[in-house]
């Protein structure tokens, strides 16, 4: 598979995937999704943690209050040593479902009271969970801040978390003063109230909140992706697909493909500049194609003329020879005369073919364009009035005379008028014909057709051509290296072909490739970059000078500059006919292209193009379907450029 085929397949697969997200869309979606996920993830994480903390703190505060409440409610019972009452209170409070256990330990760690009766009297290991806070050091702490009295633990890994709070019962005066005298005075802590609560509800709330965060994050990412995907498709995907399709069309040779309006954003501007580019390309291709077609048609006609004329000579000489010998046979004579007559007719057709292929150089003389137009109008006048066509002339009577072949130019106008009449049809219409004088800059138009060195050696190189036009070849010595440069023959275009690398510098020597005579202009430097300047003669249009620095585009051709803007005669012929579809517009100057079917040969416009080109002129066409067509011809007032 060649690279081209691969590219094409690739393009096709991209185009066929237009229902999917385009690549750029997918990338954007992934990027935005990741950013959203990150932001929402961090937010949710922090939020959940904060919520957990709040919930736990609440639970702690609640537990602490509960613990204090139990302690306070049992306080008097303890003082009075009413154990039954303490049991009663602990049992009653301990029945609350969220309370796991309430127990009261004495100093030794024996469970004195518990909401779970079976545990009463058991000893608690001082290293156990509830005791750990105070008994880490060998000497038990006596005062603990509230935070440290809390503990959260799990009995089994899969069971709910448990919040435990210990509440030490300090020795008070009333304790050792009491009737029971149960506690000595020197004891600080008499025992510990240990309340354990189940955190099942809190845990459920936390996991609920986590779940909600995840769902929220997922929905946010999904909806953002969808929204971005939608807009990417709308703002990027579709226009890009349209552009890809257009480039594909252009690559397959359809330069008439136009991208439809894509708005005013960057892609819209790209589309417009793309359309502009294809337009320009199509024009350039048309001109090139025309020259090429006309050249090959010329060769073909020349070949045909030569090849057909020989057998025709045979027919014509033998038949006219026979005619001489059959003077007494009238019937035979008549028949032979037909042969001679028809062969002579063939001779004229071949001659016309040669003329059509503009093998005959135009015979130019000074002529008045308006006069030629009027002559042409006379020829077609009858035809126009028969078709009820109104002819409007706006001829500029002050037009200068132009050097041209009046016969050929008249043929151009007759052909264009007949075409216009055919386009209008039998229902009548209007043709308008305008002539005016306009000026066009010589830059990019004037061509160097001859160039010689000071010893009159020809510098024109027919082997190296730029855009089909022979170049000017010079020898260059730069930094001891020797090579050749082919200068662009079009003034101001600066598309030189360098056979040697040269830079801005002082030791450049441009010389004649034949005699090595220097073509450098002495004591002169470029106005733009101060580099050295070369010069050669363009007979008969004086000296041509240019800058040796390839970076600099300074060129000076005084004779042409002095002539300034060149005057062209502009002739436009508009009809109110059907117009020509855009896709056909580019083909109408092709030989053998005809919209008239059997009526036309398809040579008319090709011949017109050839004639105008031969006069160093240009012809352009503008057309709007249903409104009409306009042909615009520019002919130089001076034939020689």
């Amino acid at each position: 598979m060649t690279l081209n085929e691969w590219n094409e397949q690739n393009l096709k697969s991209q185009i066929s995937n237009k229902d999917m997200f385009t690549k750029i869309g997918l990338k954007l979606i992934i990027a935005v999704g990741l950013v959203t996920a990150l932001i929402i993830g961090v937010y949710s994480f922090l939020n959940t943690r904060w919520q957990t903390e709040v919930l736990l703190t609440q639970a702690e505060v609640h537990a602490n209050k509960l613990s204090d409440a139990i302690k306070n409610s049992t306080y008097s019972s303890m003082l009075l040593n009413k154990r039954e009452q303490i049991h009663e209170i602990i049992n009653t409070v301990g029945q609350e479902p969220f309370i796991r256990e309430i127990r009261l330990l004495n100093k030794e760690g024996r469970i004195m009271f518990s909401s779970k009766k079976e545990l009463i009297g058991e000893m608690v290991d001082k290293n156990a969970e509830s005791c750990y806070a105070c008994h880490t050091a060998n000497e038990p702490l006596e005062k603990l801040p509230i935070k440290e009295r809390m503990r959260i633990y799990k009995i089994y890994p899969d069971s709910a978390r448990i919040l435990g709070i210990i509440n030490p019962i300090y020795n008070e005066k009333s304790c050792w003063d009491a009737d029971c005298h149960a506690h000595p005075e020197d004891q600080t802590v008499l025992g510990v109230l240990d309340v354990t609560l189940s955190l099942k509800d809190v845990d459920e709330q936390i996991s609920d909140s986590e779940f909600r965060s995840i769902i929220f994050a997922l929905i946010a990412i999904l909806s953002l992706s969808l929204i971005i995907g939608f807009f990417v498709r709308r703002w990027v995907g579709k226009p890009v697909n349209e552009l890809v399709k257009a480039t594909h069309e252009v690559s397959t040779g359809n330069l008439n493909y136009k991208i439809k309006e894509l708005g005013n954003d960057e892609l819209g501007i790209l589309a417009k500049s793309f359309n502009n580019m294809t337009n320009k390309l199509a024009e350039a291709r048309l001109q090139l194609f025309q020259s090429d077609k006309m050249a090959s048609l010329g060769r073909l006609a020349a070949g045909v003329a030569h090849e057909i004329n020989n057998p025709l000579t045979g027919v014509l000489t033998y038949s006219s020879f026979l005619l001489k010998r059959v003077k007494d046979n009238e019937e035979l004579e008549e028949d032979l005369k037909v042969i001679v007559r028809e062969t002579k007719r063939s001779r004229e057709i071949v001659k016309n073919l040669l003329d059509f292929a503009r093998q005959s150089v135009p015979k130019k003389h000074n002529a008045n364009i308006n006069e030629i137009i009027n002559n042409a109008i006379e020829v077609v006048d009858n035809q126009l009035s028969l078709k009820h066509i109104k002819l409007e002339e706006h001829l500029d009577s002050s037009l200068p005379k132009a050097t041209l072949d009046s016969n050929q130019i008249q043929q151009v106008f007759i052909n264009l008028l007949v075409n216009a009449a055919d386009a209008i049809g039998d229902n009548g219409g209007k043709i308008s014909l305008d002539t005016t004088l306009i000026s066009l800059s010589p830059h990019g138009i004037a061509q160097i057709k001859s160039a010689i060195c000071h010893k009159r050696h020809d510098l024109i190189d027919n082997e190296v051509k730029i855009n089909g036009i022979p170049t000017i070849k010079v020898k260059v010595i730069f930094n001891g290296n020797e090579g050749y440069i082919n200068f662009d023959p079009i003034y101001g275009k600066h598309r030189h072909q360098y056979g040697i690398e040269i830079k801005h510098g002082k030791d450049v020597l441009v010389s004649c490739p034949k005699c090595n005579i220097s073509l450098m202009e002495k004591d002169a430097s470029c106005f733009k970059c101060n580099s050295k300047v070369y010069e050669f003669e363009v007979p008969p249009q004086g000296m041509f000078r240019g800058c040796t620095n390839p970076e600099c585009d300074w060129e000076k051709w005084e004779a042409v500059d002095d002539a300034g803007y060149k005057d062209f005669i502009e002739i436009s012929i508009s009809d109110s006919g059907n117009g020509i579809p855009k896709e056909e517009l580019s083909r109408i100057f092709e030989p053998f292209y005809s919209t008239k079917g059997q009526k036309g040969t398809g040579l008319g416009l090709a011949v017109i193009w050839g004639i105008v080109d031969n006069h160093n002129g240009t012809i352009n066409v503008e057309s709007e379907l249903g409104k009409g067509t306009t042909f615009i011809i520019h002919l130089p007032v001076q034939a020689k450029s």
């Binding site: 030569h306 090849e307 000579t313 045979g314 014509l316 033998y318 006219s320 015979k363």
Partner: protein, 268 residues
């Protein structure tokens, strides 16, 4: 006398050779045919010819190269160019390069015979000139050379630039001598366009032949010599002054001048 003349025809197409041979045999001329220029040159070195007819477009050596070769070999036999590629440039170039006439293919019986007749007379005059040169008599006895400041296209027609930028054109005495007595002159109309190398006037002679005079210069006709229409004999009496054909405004004099020879060079 002309019936013993031998003509060489060079063309790469057998049918042309056959056709011309047939016509010549009817007229009583002897024909030698060659299928290429080299073969023709070989024949020229061993035979005497009065006239050469040559195609322009041929493989290897073309008609123009043949003309150069003939010039180099100092062969002064008059040459007619015949070509299927009948462009104005080919016609003018042929005359400029030394051919005495140009016949576009395809041609009719009458066209080729009138040309050959003229060619043979040209040869006749040429031979007589050489004879008078040897004997030392003045050459103008045979034909009047064109005035030195004139320019000519081949031997056929002349032109003279006037001070106002217009030019007068006419047929040379030499050409008129080759067609002998003109009975009728046909001219183009005023305001018509003359193209260099194209026929601009027809001379009908008493032997029924029509001779085309190829124009030395292109341009628009501003005046034609009505007097020669009434009295064609004026042509022969004073071909370079009273017997002029047209006064024209040249269309591209610089281009056309390239193919004209100054008459001053004829007098050496």
């Amino acid at each position: 006398m002309a019936k013993e003349e031998k003509i060489l025809i060079i063309d790469d197409e057998q049918v042309i050779l056959d056709a011309v041979s047939k016509i010549a045999s009817l007229e009583g001329w002897k024909i030698d045919a060659a299928l290429n220029a080299q073969d023709g040159l070989n024949k020229l070195s061993s035979n005497q010819y009065s006239l050469i007819l040559s195609d322009i477009m041929m493989p290897e050596m073309d008609g123009f190269q043949l003309l150069e070769e003939l010039y180099n070999r100092k062969i002064d036999v008059p040459v007619f160019m015949i070509t299927g590629y009948s462009t104005v440039e080919n016609a003018v170039k042929s005359l400029y390069k030394g051919a005495i006439d140009f016949i576009p293919k395809p041609f009719t019986f009458d066209e080729i015979t009138s040309s050959i007749n003229r060619g043979l007379k040209y040869r006749n005059i040429q031979v007589r000139l050489e004879e008078t040169k040897k004997s030392g008599t003045n050459e103008s006895v045979i034909y009047v050379p064109c005035p030195p400041k004139y320019k000519r296209l081949g031997y056929m027609s002349w032109m003279n630039l006037e001070n106002e930028g217009s030019a007068v054109i006419g047929a040379t005495d030499f050409f008129l001598e080759t067609i002998e007595h003109t009975l009728i002159v046909e001219l183009m109309e005023v305001d018509e366009l003359i193209i260099q190398g194209n026929s601009c006037a027809k001379f009908k002679t008493n032997d029924g032949l029509i001779h085309n005079c190829l124009a030395p210069l292109g341009g628009r006709i501003v005046e034609r010599n009505e007097r020669i229409l009434a009295a064609p004999s004026l042509l022969e009496k004073d071909p370079f002054f009273e017997g002029w054909l047209y006064r024209i405004i040249p269309s591209d004099i610089e281009y056309d001048m390239k193919y004209l020879d100054p008459c001053s060079s004829d007098r050496i």
